[in-house]
């Protein structure tokens, strides 16, 4: 377990170097927000990638009550504040340690300091095993946390002088730049040694951690300060600890890497697999008659036939939880659409299902629940293929289930999982949206003409927020058949008093002359920078690019994925072809009424397309504003992040 952590600390400086966002080598942009004036700091450096956090801290930092607190702050503090508190809550813990380890390591001191790293991360475990010490410590923490933060601020402000303060706190003498490089090297070596030693000592690392706990007073301080509020602390802490244990286990990195590669998707031209899948299917799909040859690898079913059948089965389906069933039907009927809405609905259904779950006899919760979730997921897939963000959320949930400690009682485990789900929804979706809005709004100026395509909820939030801020701008809503989602967006915008222009996607070249910025949502951002989004997005981006209009993609980081894709054909979703034949509001267009009877005629209703990264000027995400080439960085950082939430 030490091995994992050690390697991370080693890799940390590397990450920071890649982080083109923070020219300042000072690795704590995360707490700028804590300083008194968040909007200023934001406007100064709108692109912020928070420093990679220490997993243990993060896990510790996320007990249930805190999410509530965070949500509240998000709601109250309208400007960047909503972002920052969460950031600070999460990011504050690693902070005190890193400057000390960076600054104050000279000579033989470092070994102790590097121990401190491990210690700190282990402190959670220690705390859980020795709750009484925790309680003792808590008041002291609250007292000492503030001064540390103060000193941080002063570091920011006064540079070396501030550092001196930290040094004093750490009671370490030397801190000079040339030394720093040396010390980090030395530190690394020390870490390696320590980790070797730790491996040797094996599982008793627990104890050694506990022993070393007493050594450095500054570092563990932060840790408990997070935990001190709220009763369910013990649960979440223990969860985090054990999860950490597991993660930190002696798994060879290659294996892990292999595991990271997403499993190949179901190819629907593979007959045997399709047959196999059909046997288990709850939803009986009938194959569409006029299938498009090019898309044989995707499911092409008759639409609208399954719903009544499923409805009638509602009371007979034992294995599927009613909440899951309900959401599945909503997917099928198209009542819930939009990546975020679908993801939230799914997670909440999972939460309900977990709350009602009870482990059967002679089964373990982790295994049985994982299997259950898998069966729910396959039910969802039958209703409608999952979006990539949903896939990420499911992966997160499964990781959390598998990481549950065996010692936990069932009710505790369920509570922990539910809080995890809540937390995911709040932080990764709701808060992330707010952060994106704050970021993107800085790009809107008076007199702008903004183009929005389709109906993306983030883009809508951005526009409404900018309007509330009193910015003077016009919106061009571009829409496309067959969904015409833009009309709903248009109605909402007009109701709020924005002045809008509406047109079809075909009129893009006409309308693009007056547009100054294009805001687009995305279903997913793939790691080669390709934006996978509602069909037509690529066309909009292309035309904007041809007219030299900047294209901003707004996407939450939980939708990022390490998959790569070059075209829109290998992976896509097909909608109901009948929707193409019917033109809503135009009775005169009825040429394709009986299209299914014509054997040479197919209708293709593509749902998504892949926008090449060269059309995209910028991706606005909850980690800041990045160029599309930096998506892999986010994916790498974020994956670690969300596994360890």
């Amino acid at each position: 377990m030490e091995a994992r952590r050690a390697s991370r600390t080693v890799s940390d400086p590397k990450v920071r170097h890649v982080g083109f966002f923070t020219p300042d080598p000072n690795p704590q942009p995360g707490w700028n927000p804590l300083a008194s004036d968040p909007p200023v700091s934001n406007s100064l450096s709108p692109v912020i990638i928070p420093p990679p956090r220490q997993p243990a801290d993060r896990t510790a930092a996320v007990p249930v009550p805190e999410t509530g607190v965070r949500r509240q702050t998000g709601a109250d503090q309208v400007p960047v504040g909503s972002y920052n508190p969460s950031e600070s809550l999460l990011g504050s813990s690693p902070v005190p340690s890193s400057p000390s380890s960076r600054v104050g390591l000279a000579g033989g001191e470092f070994s102790e300091e590097s121990n401190g790293w491990f210690r700190r991360s282990d402190s959670g475990k220690f705390a859980s095993s020795l709750p009484d010490t925790m309680v003792e410590r808590a008041p002291e923490n609250s007292a000492s946390a503030a001064p540390v933060l103060e000193s941080k601020k002063s570091v920011e402000a006064t540079g070396k002088g501030g550092k001196a303060v930290v040094e004093e706190q750490n009671e370490v003498q030397s801190s000079s730049k040339p030394l720093k490089a040396k010390t980090t090297k030395a530190e690394r070596r020390a870490l390696q040694e320590a980790q070797r030693a730790a491996k040797a000592s094996g599982k008793e690392g627990n104890k050694s951690a506990a022993v070393s706990q007493g050594a450095a007073p500054v570092k563990p301080v932060k840790q408990p300060s997070q935990k001190k509020d709220g009763p369910p602390v013990s649960v979440s802490v223990s969860v985090s600890v054990v999860s950490f244990d597991k993660k930190g286990g002696d798994r060879p990195p290659e294996k892990e890497r292999k595991k990271d590669v997403p499993a190949p998707r179901m190819q629907f031209d593979d007959k045997s697999r399709v047959q196999k899948a059909k046997k288990h299917a709850v939803v009986k799909q009938t194959e569409a008659r006029n299938r498009v040859e090019l898309f044989r690898h995707l499911p092409q079913y008759e639409h609208g036939t399954q719903l009544p059948d499923l409805e009638s089965k509602f009371f007979q389906l034992d294995p599927v939880h009613p909440a899951i069933y309900k959401v599945g039907l909503q997917y099928l009927a198209g009542d819930i659409s939009g990546g975020n809405a679908r993801c939230i609905a799914m997670l909440q259904a999972f939460k309900e299902a977990i709350e009602d779950y009870s482990t059967p006899q002679e089964k373990t919760l982790a295994r049985d629940l994982t299997a259950k979730i898998s069966s729910y997921v396959s039910f969802f897939i039958e209703c409608r293929p999952l979006s990539i963000g949903m896939g990420n959320a499911i992966r997160f949930l499964k990781t959390r289930i598998s990481d549950l400690p065996l010692t936990l009682s069932e009710s505790e485990a369920k509570a922990a999982l539910c809080s995890d789900i809540e937390h995911f929804i709040n932080e990764k979706i709701i808060l992330a949206d707010k952060v994106i809005v704050r970021h993107a709004v800085t790009k809107i100026r008076d007199g702008d003409v903004l183009l929005a395509y389709g109906s993306s909820c983030v883009v809508e939030m951005i526009l409404l927020y900018a309007h509330e801020m009193g910015k003077q701008f016009r919106v061009v809503v571009v829409d496309s058949r067959p969904k015409l989602e833009g009309q709903a967006l248009l109605r909402r915008l007009v109701a709020k008093g924005l002045s809008c222009t509406y047109s079809h996607i075909n009129a893009l070249s006409y309308i693009m002359h007056e547009v100054t910025k294009v805001f687009l949502g995305a279903a997913s951002v793939l790691s080669n920078g390709t934006v996978y989004s509602r069909v037509g997005t690529a066309s909009v981006a292309m035309v904007a690019n041809a007219f030299h209009v900047p294209v901003l993609i707004c996407c939450e980081a939980y939708k990022f994925h390490e998959r790569v894709q070059l075209d829109s054909i290998c992976f896509n979703e097909l909608g109901d072809p009948d929707a193409i034949a019917k033109v809503s509001g135009r009775t005169d267009v009825n040429y394709l009424n009986n299209w299914a009877n014509k054997e040479n005629l197919q209708l293709l209703n593509l749902m998504y397309d892949a926008t090449p990264s060269d059309y995209i000027s910028m991706i606005v995400t909850d980690y800041g504003m990045i160029p599309p080439t930096s998506v892999p960085v986010i994916v790498r950082e974020y994956r670690r992040d969300h596994v360890f939430i």
Binding site: R481, Q487, I505, Y510, V543, D567, R586, L603
Partner: protein, 409 residues
């Protein structure tokens, strides 16, 4: 004359109300109308071509004003004017040729002089109708000169023909040329379709956009030659002509897939060739087409897919576009994209500000710049966009480029 005036008014009102749309239909109607104008207009005994040109130009001006976006009208008017000039030109040349033959080439200098004289005369006549008398006079002077020197009988014969027979002959020739033009318009797609096999091979995937009769015939011709190929048809909102085209093509046995306009970019990576029909071809090789065409052309360029335009020569417009997205465009009814029933409340003028909060942009045409067009296939062969200006010189006379010549009067 009254009859002709009535016909003109009828077509003008049709054009104005957009009852007739589509370049082929308007071109044919215009040509037919001009034919009847030519046949029925009263011409003065002298200076017929100039009078005819004036008459045609008057009518053409009205027609163009009725629907300035329908460039085919202007094209046909110019073509007819060009025909008249050509006939006139060839008439005078005939006359001169006659003299030259009669002279027998014994005096080279005189013949040279003659040619010079003629070209000057022709040019002056083409440039300025007011100087047309000059044209009439100069051959006359030449004839007198020649009659004085050679005393030929043929000259005598011509002179006797002059007032009536020659005018009839002239008019007949012009009308038959206009008939040829109408025939061309009617059959150009067949001629173009014959070229299909040269461009479409087996197992090809072709994308088309909107509906064009020329494209339909083109594709069907390839199909009849036993070429089997896949076809994507973008529906072309808000007219949805793609639906109709797909239906027709499927009925003819082509493997057709209808896609939404937004899916064009997604699908074009699997397409070998884009074939589209257009509304008009400009002199710089740019193309005015159904709205959305520019998007298709850009996508084709991105994926290096040839963007082929099939067009009859009647769509060839001798004008150079200036800001064509606005100047050669017209906005259609918002109801085509946004139902009035649902959005009537938003479309109201807001009290106080006096500006509507909701605008709807529904243009009918799109301009594709020449650099996005790979090839033109016309009824006279395939051409590169940069060659279009030369074709225009073949079909139009430079004096007709501006039809509205009398805004001052």
């Amino acid at each position: 004359m009254v009859d002709v005036q009535g016909l003109v008014n009828e077509l003008v009102s049709k054009l104005r109300r957009r009852k007739v749309e589509g370049s082929r239909a308007t071109a044919r109607l215009t040509a037919e109308l001009l034919r009847s104008v030519i046949s029925q207009s009263k011409l003065p005994p002298t200076n017929q071509p100039a009078a005819l040109i004036d008459a045609v130009r008057d009518v053409g001006e009205k027609l163009i004003a009725a629907n300035p976006i329908e460039l085919a009208v202007g094209n046909i008017v110019r073509r007819v004017l060009h025909i008249i000039r050509e006939e006139d030109h060839s008439n005078t040349r005939d006359a001169v040729e006659g003299f030259r033959l009669s002279v027998g080439g014994d005096n080279d200098y005189i013949v040279e002089q003659d040619h010079l004289n003629l070209s000057v005369a022709a040019q002056s006549s083409l440039c300025r109708p007011s100087l047309h008398a000059l044209l009439e006079r100069s051959p006359d002077s030449a004839t007198t000169y020649f009659t004085a020197t050679t005393e030929d009988d043929s000259e005598e014969k011509r002179k006797s023909l002059d007032p009536n027979a020659r005018s009839l002959e002239f008019r007949r020739k012009v009308i038959s040329a206009v008939n040829d033009l109408i025939e061309d318009i009617n059959t150009c797609h067949l001629v173009i379709a014959e070229l299909a096999v040269e461009h479409i091979h087996h197992n090809e995937v072709i994308l088309t956009f909107g509906r064009s009769r020329t494209v339909k015939e083109f594709l069907c011709a390839a199909k009849e030659k036993k070429r089997s190929f896949g076809l994507f048809v973008a529906e072309g909102a808000p007219k949805y002509q793609g639906h109709l085209l797909a239906k027709e093509l499927a009925a003819r046995g082509l493997q057709t897939t209808v896609i939404t306009d937004s899916a064009v970019f997604a699908m074009i990576s699997r397409v070998n060739m884009v074939i589209v029909g257009v509304h008009a071809v400009m002199a710089n090789g740019g193309v005015i087409g159904p709205v959305g065409l520019n998007m298709v052309a850009l996508a084709a360029r991105k994926h290096a897919v040839p963007f082929v335009v099939v067009t009859g020569t009647h769509k060839l417009c001798p004008l150079y576009p200036n800001n064509p997205e606005v100047s050669l465009n017209e906005m259609r009814s918002p109801s085509e994209v946004l139902s009035f029933e649902e959005f009537s409340d938003c479309m109201d003028y807001r009290i106080g500000t006096g500006a509507p909060q909701l605008h709807v942009g529904n243009p009918s045409f799109d301009y594709v710049p020449p650099e996005l067009v790979s090839l033109f296939i016309t009824d006279i062969g395939g051409y590169y966009p940069s060659y279009m200006y030369r074709l225009i010189a073949d079909y139009y006379s430079s004096d007709d480029l501006v039809i509205q010549q009398k805004p001052a009067s």
